[in-house]
Amino acid sequence: MKYAFYPGCVAKGGCPELYSAAVKVAEKLDIELEEMTDVSCTGAGCMPTQLSDPINARTFAKAEQMGLPIMTICSTCQGVFSQANHRLQDPEYREEINREYLADEGLSYQGTTEVTHMLWVLFEDYGIEKLQSLIERPLNGLKVSPFYGCFIRRPGNIMVPTKEVGGRRTYLEDLTRILGAENVDISGKTKCCGFPILTANEEASLGMVSKHAGESKGNGADCMVTPCPLCHLNLDGNQPRAESQKGEKIDLPIIHLPQLVGLALGFDPDEMQLSRHIVSTKAVNDKIDMLT
């Protein structure tokens, strides 16, 4: 099982712990990753589609040449890629992009590249039973709030096509359960984390951090798990500012998806670099220590 690995800018920048956790987990699961190093940022919704579609078509064409599906570890990359790939299924539009932008480099995108997130890979390609059989440390007693955020869920017709794949709406809850942990539900688990409006309206953005993390903490969670490093940057990195804004301590660790899987596969919190989070993960580390 092999993928063209697209880690995204944040895993190579502000969340290096996500990158190393994903690589270690993939290696342990015998999922081969060939990292794409000569491709661009997706645009992350900050570039107009007119600029981002051509550079994303280039990335898809490169993967097509490699003969591999792309695996992301970022919901934002995944969302932008999925939407771009959806538009590029229109042959006329694809040909225009090929002709105007890719031909100069001798590239051409035929529309066949599949783009998938690590969360989807575990269920749809790898097989969840196989993952279950490899668990060395069931996370018994760990209370986890699944937090999808928006881009891995919507637009629904592209991200969770119910006819083809039934379970994408509950993958995080299913995974948490399979890893042995306990689900702590929150009402906003598929809502936005606030990151996209950090620039335009910081107060509202931090308000979302307090709302989601505060509800999770109030419901008794030890931590939250998210498939998106941008959710992580806001919910973890800006949690201290959200606390000051609200005048209330929250203190909820935010765990990246591959880190949670890694802990259940037997990696130690240090190996998953939980020490690199802004909010102390002591509550999680202590529970993991008791399990080992």
């Binding site: 502000g14 661009s40 589609t49 600029l51 550079i55 919507r154 620039t199 309206n201 990195g237 690199r276």
Partner: protein
């Protein structure tokens, strides 16, 4: 069939919430949720307040939450609801103050925000005040958005409104789309239009979470429309200064190196001469550095020259 209605009764004017009231109603399976409400008001409790008008799903007046999902009572069949749940629970739509029971404040919810986006056209001078023919192609999408019911279901699902009620919301943005895309406003008028759309609490306060796309009963995909208005803003020049700096820095970073320089982005968004703004970032930067999260030296990617070539060509063709 015997159906249990559990209705969230509120009467803020006369002493606040009174909680859920339960009613038993005998209804045929193909009756609508609205039929039941009317029967309750006629036969059991004439103080029950709800809104309805056309009774055929074309006016959007009767939006409520039926078992937590925002829908119209006049087009939702009792049989369909009771197939999934033992009772019919009705709550007012979210993100809005309630006047009484299921009746919410349309002034604050919709009309004030619609008024704030200048919902009328101010055509360019070249369009004389007579009949002006516009092409079918130019108007196809615009005309679709004219079928908006202004029912508020898109705002009901919005992720921003619960933390920031002043956000104009997807409903008002769909209204904006109708004018932004109309070819008769161009030049100075287009400039004025974009200033209105990009006002604080407007276009750039949306988190583009695509929640609203799934909520619109007319299939108008409000979130996608917002992103299309943003594409126009990129072409016309972003009017919100801070957002403009953010996007310029983002695009420049990808153009020069192939990927995002997060450290530079944060500083350039604040403005390199904005000392107070930069100082505000300091605690977060220190925390990140202590935890080894501060991005290292930003190296140019292999392939960056091709990426630059593509972006520059795409910029030229706008």
């Amino acid at each position: 069939m015997e159906v249990t209605y559990k209705i969230n009764r509120k009467d803020p004017e006369n002493g606040g919430e009174s909680g859920y009231a339960t009613y038993q109603v005998d209804l045929p399976e193909d009756a609508t949720v609205l039929d039941g409400l009317q029967k309750i008001r006629d036969e059991q409790d004439d103080s029950l307040a709800f809104r309805a008008s056309c009774c055929q799903g074309t006016c959007g007046e009767c939006a409520v939450r039926i078992n937590y999902k925002a829908q119209f009572t006049c087009t939702t069949r009792i049989g369909d609801v009771t197939k999934k749940a033992p009772e019919v629970q009705l709550d007012p739509v979210r993100n809005i103050s309630v006047i009484k029971d299921l009746v919410f404040d349309m002034d604050a919810f919709t009309w004030d925000k619609m008024a704030a986006v200048k919902p009328w056209m101010e055509p360019d001078e070249e369009f004389a005040p007579t009949e002006n023919i516009v092409s079918e192609k130019d108007m196809a999408d615009v005309r679709k958005t004219m079928s908006c019911y202004q029912c508020g279901l898109c705002d009901e699902g919005c992720a921003v409104l619960p933390v920031n009620f002043d956000f104009l919301g997807p409903g008002a943005m769909v209204k904006s789309y109708r004018f932004v895309m109309d070819p008769r406003e161009s030049g100075a008028q287009m400039d004025a239009r974009m200033k209105v759309v990009e006002q604080p609490q407007g276009l750039w306060d949306c988190v583009h979470c695509y929640e609203a796309d799934g909520k619109c009963p007319r299939g108008l995909t409000p979130s996608t429309k917002i992103m299309e208005i943003r594409d126009v803003s990129f072409k016309e020049g972003i009017k919100n200064e801070k957002v403009g700096r953010h996007h310029a820095s983002f695009i420049n970073s990808v153009k020069q190196t192939g990927w995002l320089d997060e450290r530079k982005l944060v500083m350039e968004t604040e403005g390199l001469t904005n000392v107070a703004g930069l100082m505000k970032l300091l605690p977060t930067a220190v925390r990140a550095m202590r935890r080894g999260k501060m991005p290292g030296r930003h190296e140019k990617r292999p392939g960056a020259d091709q990426i630059k070539r593509i972006i520059e060509k795409a910029e030229e063709s706008k």
